[in-house]
Amino acid sequence: MYGLIDCNAFYCSCQRAFEPSLKHKPVVVLSNNDGCAIARTREAKDLGIKMGDAWHLVKNTPKLVDVAWYSSNYALYADMSRRVYEVLLDHVPRVEAYSIDEMFLDLGGLHGNMEHRCEQIRASVEQITKIPTCVGWGPTKAIAKLANYIAKDRPELEGLCDLSDQALRHRYYRNLPVGEVWGIGRRLVPRLEAAGIRTIQQFVDADEALVRKLMMITGVRLQAELRGESCMALSEIVEQRKGMTCSRSFGQPVTDYDDMRTAITTFTSRAAEKLRAEELDTAHIVVFIQTNPHKRQDGWYAPQVSITCEPTNDTFALVAHAIRLLKVMWKDGYRYAKAGVSFNDLAPTNRQNTLFATGGERTRQATKAMDAVNQRFGKGTMSLLSAGLQNKWKPRQSMLSQRYTTNINEIMEARTF
């Protein structure tokens, strides 16, 4: 038996956890650069705020004056996600963190009434992390995912949905559109509909050859999963990454080469830090810059260049490569809105290769020291001077809340009663 627990409006709930005055208020959390709404509480949804709404366009609407809105505070959300995960591990033997706010549960070995156990898990997560959740469960991961959707969608179920019973499952299958199935996205729906598959039941009953033609092996496995045959195991280990990217939209357009160079240096340093944290080397670097796609009248230029190099995770070597790539494609006269650095061709750090590498022991010691300082005193405490000291391109985060759980200077305050 598998369960899927999903945190309701996770980012908003994290803000509410530390600000009780938000309890009954509509709350919205915005994407990087304070661009669009990416999390909304029930109250905010009821005001008509949609996922992806551009906040600067809607925020002055009279009916939205009471909405509490926040820049995304990923340091806080990551730590709260860790807490949810650890609470779950106190209740079930295995947990798969599927996304920052959704976790699959191995409910296999649990005794007693499943509904009661899931209710307990939910209550425990809410008491300890202050995050409300919904839980769905069934014999396979795809069914658990669907059960979770139903639990969220139907308030009368009070956050719990049990799809372990086949007859009940089929009643839902007949009434739900195929697009609600895990992994069947918006682009696939029209193609399935064209083939006469509109409901989940029609998908489950469809000819295997047809499903294979439309969705390859994934579709066939989904079909089996929805029939109750488990083909997807719980994965506790994240597969090794194939690539690593660090990119940002700028808070204001970048027109100056030096500003862009500091941005590229920062992105490269950050991605290199992630490489080292995962003990990986890269052998292929991509740098891209682009102007605003919504303002093509100002000129559109979006080049990307790449280079193959000796496997390394050394910040100094990688920054040198990245800046060389930037120089190749840089053109004055454009208003750049976004840039980024990607590392591909990743492999575990292999001492042998460093025999031929440039940097050598000295830079390795220097990067190690830099990582230690940044881990201890916070991200970006120590960086290359070429990453700049004050950056015009820094993303807008005008309503960033405190990092209540990860920075001692920003913890919650309590007045004595």
Partner: protein, 127 residues
């Protein structure tokens, strides 16, 4: 970067303590800060001086477990976060002020008076 020296790897005479290195004391372990239920909270105000809590102290709140009469708690009341003493009076829970300057508040989630976490420890970084 200089290698860490912990009393073990000496250059002349071999350290007799080399097999007994224990490292320095880790307060986050002692305070169980890795537990998902532990949160640090900063105190503002002096009404719990009698309980040894000063303004600026860092309290460790634990959101797991059950309420205990007489203990200090972090609570939410009317949208505010407060430090109060929890008391059970005839089966009902009350938040009691540290200096009796304010009337006790009945714990009632329907009226937005809720217990947030129990205090389990205190850190004072400057004495």
């Amino acid at each position: 970067m200089a290698r860490q020296y912990a009393g073990d790897r000496t250059t002349g005479f071999a350290s007799p303590a080399a097999d007994s290195i224990e490292g320095s004391i880790d307060l986050s372990e002692i305070l169980s800060l890795r537990k998902p239920s532990r949160y640090p909270v900063r105190v503002q105000g002096l009404s719990f001086v009698s309980r040894g809590v000063l303004s600026g102290d860092i309290l460790i709140a634990d959101t797991a477990g059950n309420p205990v009469s007489g203990s200090l708690v972090i609570a939410c009341a009317g949208g505010q976060i407060i430090l109060a003493e929890l008391q059970n009076r005839n089966g009902k829970w009350f938040l009691v002020s540290g200096d009796d300057a304010t009337q006790p508040l009945r714990v009632d989630p329907m009226r937005d008076v809720e217990i947030w976490g129990n205090i389990t420890g205190l850190v004072r970084t400057e004495v």
